[in-house]
Symmetry: C2
Subunit: 374 residues, 2 copies
């Protein structure tokens, strides 16, 4: 096998277990831990590509399921691939569509071959298999592709969790066998196994045996309490190779990110900063702010005094509240930019704390500032 | 009377009659002719304040009627006035609400005192008079305020047009008498009189006798054919003082702007670039483009090769079409920025053509490029 397109570099490990690393990709280097904004359909909703770079984002995620439906992977390929199509010149990652089949598709039927379901857009019948997911992701051409996995809703019977985990392993192997674009695209495996420590360990071992450029933790943040999720992360990462990046999929709140980092996670993605931003919920250094609340009407302060984003540089809370009340697009635009900037500043501070070797106290201080009891 | 807050400087007149001028305001200088983007509720829809500056906009319009309803002029005043509220540090102009009373308000009743109507937001009963309009505009604090006028829909019986024109003159006088904020805000009169040359002349004479820092042409682009509008502009501007700026309200298409400039107009405003932008209609150097048309699906070209805007710098027509098909906010955002940039580039080219003394041939060439028969 040729040297992988994506290469991980471990820089240091904090006493807490938090890792400071670096991901080298064909489109540039990513400082880890990192948060990946979600560009579902080739755009992070409400944020243009230059503002997105301004937030500090280093790598962007695209959704295979959504892009395959609209505009279709061949249209993206014809327009130069996902980088050129979206205008994002830095590193990119595409998911496999497995999670969207689980969360969005109608009349889903999953067999050993793959998933057959109805499009959530027009009801048309679609087959998604490991081979098809890889073919789509190769057409999109992100730096990192993900294996196609089977996700189950939690709680679920132990047998269902085990069965999906084992099938995901077989599918992971099929993804590797199907992958042709290995010169400029690397494949990450996805650990499944629900909240069961033994299943997670078995999944991690199986994937490690196949061998991937990176390892994701999938099937979490699907309805279980946060404490259960933190525990599951904690008993999964020790089974992952130390010389590969670890990616916690679809997570999460600022607190989730800090908890994940402490348990050795390097990468995250979530729609939370943009989805909440569109709904007038802002993340700040002192906790969340609901801008629709009347108390902000005449508030001249920015969301965060120390935030360099456009919203904080130029506008008051009173103005932002007005934008949401009046239904102006600029409200969702500005608070999405602010929230993404908040997440990136948090990652930047986390990286600095790991480098300085005091991640645990950094995390405790942040949680206290956000109002969590010690 | 103290020296007016806003001062006009005539630089040169082209053989065609087109004027190259300059408007000095408390918040900076505006090169004329100019196009003012419309920031109805303290934001140009879908365009953040720094992107707006990037389009080349030099002066922005705010709507008194809308801002009085949401968030209310006292909230704007409390948050530092319209400049600080919106984040736009350059020159601003507010309209008087007269046109919105005519176009938006429900159950409108107009008497000599003023207009009584129901809010289009919540149906609440509102009185808008010349005095009240000025009070609101002083709270908003734009560099230029407009007199409160009575607008009639065209076609209308000659007596109705004449009656509204004469009432608008009486209201203009009341606006001058009501104005207290004269140190950093100037008032523009509004010529009415429909499509009748004598009424327009009478209105212009009456306003000039009162004396304003600038003169607007109102009551056009309200349903009449473009040729009638061009004719009405042509027989109105000769009656306006040469040493004051002329502002054609609510106009218009790129062609309308070029026709207006040839007839001696200096300022324009219109929602067309942003409203059309939100609806996937792009103005380009070779005419309009409907991005929803299937022919653009795989088109790798930008909207305009020579345009420096974000949309043209970064994105293909195929990508822009995809954004509209997928309902992504970024589509309206990008095409609004492009269209505003197109308008500003057109004004920049018009100013250069006037300076060079060949405006008529410039106009003819542009019309031909847009596909208008010579």
């Amino acid at each position: 096998m040729a040297s992988p397109a994506v290469r991980y570099e471990l820089l240091s490990v904090d006493p807490s277990g938090a890792r400071r690393g670096r991901l080298h990709t064909p489109h540039g280097t990513v400082e880890l831990p990192t948060f990946m904004p979600v560009g579902t359909l080739g755009t992070v909703k409400g944020v243009d590509i230059e503002r997105l770079a301004d937030t500090g984002a280093q790598i962007v995620l695209g959704n295979t399921y959504h892009l395959a439906l609209r505009p279709g992977e061949e249209a993206v390929r014809s327009l130069g691939g996902l980088h050129r199509f979206s205008g994002w010149e830095g590193p990119m990652l595409t998911d496999s569509g497995g999670f969207q089949v689980f969360s969005l598709a109608h009349k889903r039927k999953v067999t050993e071959q793959g998933a057959r379901f109805q499009s959530h857009i027009d009801g048309s019948l679609i087959d998604l298999t490991p081979e098809r997911s890889i073919a789509i992701q190769e057409a999109l051409g992100a730096d990192i592709a993900m294996v196609f996995d089977e996700v189950v809703e939690l709680p679920a019977p132990p047998e269902a969790v085990r069965s999906a985990m084992l099938r995901s392993l077989r599918w992971a192997r099929r993804c590797v066998d199907a992958a042709k674009r290995t010169d400029d695209q690397s494949l990450f495996g996805i650990v499944q196994g629900g909240l069961d420590a033994e299943l997670r360990a078995e999944s991690a071992a199986g994937l490690t045996e196949i061998g991937f450029a990176g390892y994701a933790i999938g099937g979490l943040s699907v309805g279980e309490p946060p404490a259960d999720m933190y525990r599951a992360i904690g008993f999964t990462t020790p089974h992952l190779p130390a010389d590969r990046p670890r990616y916690l999929m679809g997570v999460g709140t600022p607190r989730d990110l800090l908890e994940g980092i402490e348990r050795g996670v390097d990468m995250f993605d979530c729609v939370m900063p943009t989805r909440n931003g569109r709904n007038a919920l802002a993340f700040t250094d002192t906790g969340t702010i609901r801008l629709r609340n009347a108390c902000h009407t005449l508030d001249e302060r920015p969301l965060d005094e120390g935030c360099p984003c456009l919203a904080c540089r130029r506008h008051s809370r009173g103005y932002l509240r007005h934008l949401f009340r009046a239904g102006e697009m600029l409200g969702p635009m500005l608070v999405s930019v602010h929230n993404l900037t908040h997440y990136q500043r948090l990652m930047e501070a986390a990286r600095a704390a790991i480098e300085a070797g005091h991640y645990a106290s950094f995390k405790q201080r942040r949680l206290a500032e956000w109002g969590f009891a010690a």
